[in-house]
Amino acid sequence: MIAGSRVNFSTVMLVLGLLFLYLPMAVLVVYSFNVSELVTVWAGFSPKWYGALFEDEQILAAVWTSVRVAFFSASMAVCLGTVAAFVMTRFGHFRGKTALSSMVTAPLVMPEVITGLSLLLLFVQMAQLIGWPTDRGMTTIWIAHTTFCSAYVAVVVAARLREVDRSIEEAAMDLGSPPIKTFFSVTLPVISPALAAGWLLAFTLSLDDLVIASFVSGPGANTLPMVVFSSVRMGVSPKINALATLIILAVSLATFIAWYLMRRNENKRRVTLEADAQDAT
């Protein structure tokens, strides 16, 4: 019977699924080294599109805008999201808890066109009522990204806060440590890996967003996805392939480092546990 062999249906599907996920990305990478302008015909190896990419002032300016927006959005989102997660997991019941938890899960699935349109209408209305924001650009994108990214951070951090042993926090407070100090010196160090994960997630989400940024941006600020989108609309271009290759390389590298650190931590923990077990005997 097939059941005895190691090759079963779900393993085959996993391999096929991973091929489905990675083949198109591999194609992008391969064709970024193509001499020909045509992305589908292989004409020989050349790194010239990378040179062209680094001479494209518009793309470079957009990268700089996007990175700045993503940095500030991720940082603010970590602050807001962590507070939201802490409030939801540690504060028991309070008025507005249902509202808060709805506003934390809804952005995860809300179609981007709705979020983008609604935020733009808010900014327009605010400009009419209080005269701010006078023009839309990086600040309005920052607010929009902070809002939806903080929902993701809250989910990641809340999951970690629920795992953490609360008795340490309670012990600190029993010994007279004020709540704020307990949070900063006991809770925060324990959840810091989740904060880092949340920050990175928020950073990539902000860097990647086209639709919301297009709605809330003004004529001044073009993010990277906006520039890529207007180029891609015209058809395929090897310069975009070169950009894609660099993005894939950066993300793979970051993921590899994260994996390495996680594995090292786990090994260390196992070694300590084994040593403890040996001491006990």
Binding site: L14, L100, P111, E112, I114, T147, F229
Partner: protein
């Protein structure tokens, strides 16, 4: 003396607690909840050649307060078969893509959960990694693959399997492929989370009692992973209904989707009231799935 100090402390603590709660609550109310009220408001106003391009709801003239509630935008949406077709098309495409994601994602998650412990983290990172690169660029990749002179057609022509290129770009098929490709990680992750928590002893007990593998799967594994199926399906279906980038880049004239229609209404026609009405109706259609997802999510948080 001591007593008074303690009360002061408690008071300060209560105040601090309120301030901390207020921070995320106020931010999200202002920038997430309030904007929806404005969408509702503008969907009820009349389009105007103005900056911003819509008329006022309330006007005071000749000592009378005029309140204009224009339901014309909604009636317009219902009467024009173009919009009805766009809503229906979005739901059909999103549903098909969600089903395809589930059929591919479930066995993947199952295999991941059954893999040796040290492999699981690597597999999870491998599934998630594409979603951390650029969404736009991953959809762009399919433009070069599915096109008339794209990779698949070139390969099939070269193999002699076809004589004329298959038309795959700008079809519903291309849009569905794009959605499945972009959203697959969001289907696999919650499924994996549920399946890896599954207690092995339950499966062993079932097989000890003589249950066949297929039977065990249907009676034990599947019911215990319902939560993951709901979460994964909602994470794919809801955003897919409003998707703009995928139908714009891979779709064609016969793949009318509401996200693209809304975008064009807003950016090309500059008709903000109609775009707002489109958003309100979409929100109404998605309300039940969103509430369902939220209830599942908060149940998950409590356990």
């Amino acid at each position: 003396m001591m007593r008074r100090q303690v009360t002061a402390w408690a008071k300060r603590l209560r105040l601090g607690r309120r301030a901390i709660i207020a921070l995320p609550l106020v931010w999200l109310s202002l920038f997430f909840l309030m904007p929806f009220a404005l969408v509702l408001k503008i969907s009820l106003s009349e389009a105007a050649i103005n900056v911003p391009p819509y008329g006022p709801l309330v006007e005071y003239a000749n000592q009378t307060l005029h309140v204009f509630l224009n339901v014309g935008n909604y009636l317009f949406l219902l009467s024009d078969s173009y919009y009805v077709a766009a809503y229906w098309g979005s739901i059909k495409i999103a549903f098909t893509a969600t089903l395809a994601c589930l059929l591919l994602g479930y066995p993947m998650a199952y295999a991941m959960a059954r893999a040796p412990r040290r492999w699981q983290l690597v597999l999870m990172l491998l599934v998630m990694l594409p979603s951390w690169t650029s969404f736009l660029i991953r959809i762009y990749a399919w433009m070069g693959i599915l096109g008339n002179s794209g990779l698949i057609n070139n390969l099939l022509l070269w193999l002699g399997l076809i004589d004329t290129p298959l038309r795959m770009m700008n079809t519903p098929f291309a849009v569905i492929i794009g959605i499945v490709y972009a959203y697959l990680p969001f289907m696999v992750l919650p499924l994996y989370a549920h399946l890896s928590r599954l207690d092995d002893s339950l499966l062993e007990a079932a097989s000890d009692l003589g249950s066949r593998r297929f039977n065990t799967f249907m009676k034990v594994t599947l019911p215990l992973s319902t939560g993951g199926i709901i979460a994964g399906s909602m994470l794919v279906f809801i955003p897919a209904v409003g998707e703009f980038v995928i139908p714009e880049l891979l779709g064609g004239p016969d793949t009318l989707m509401i996200g693209k229609v809304l975008w064009d209404e807003f950016f090309q026609n500059r008709d903000w009231p109609v775009a707002s009405a489109l958003a309100m109706v979409m929100l109404l259609l998605l309300l039940i799935p969103i509430v369902w997802f939220h209830r599942y999510q908060s149940k998950e948080m409590k356990s």
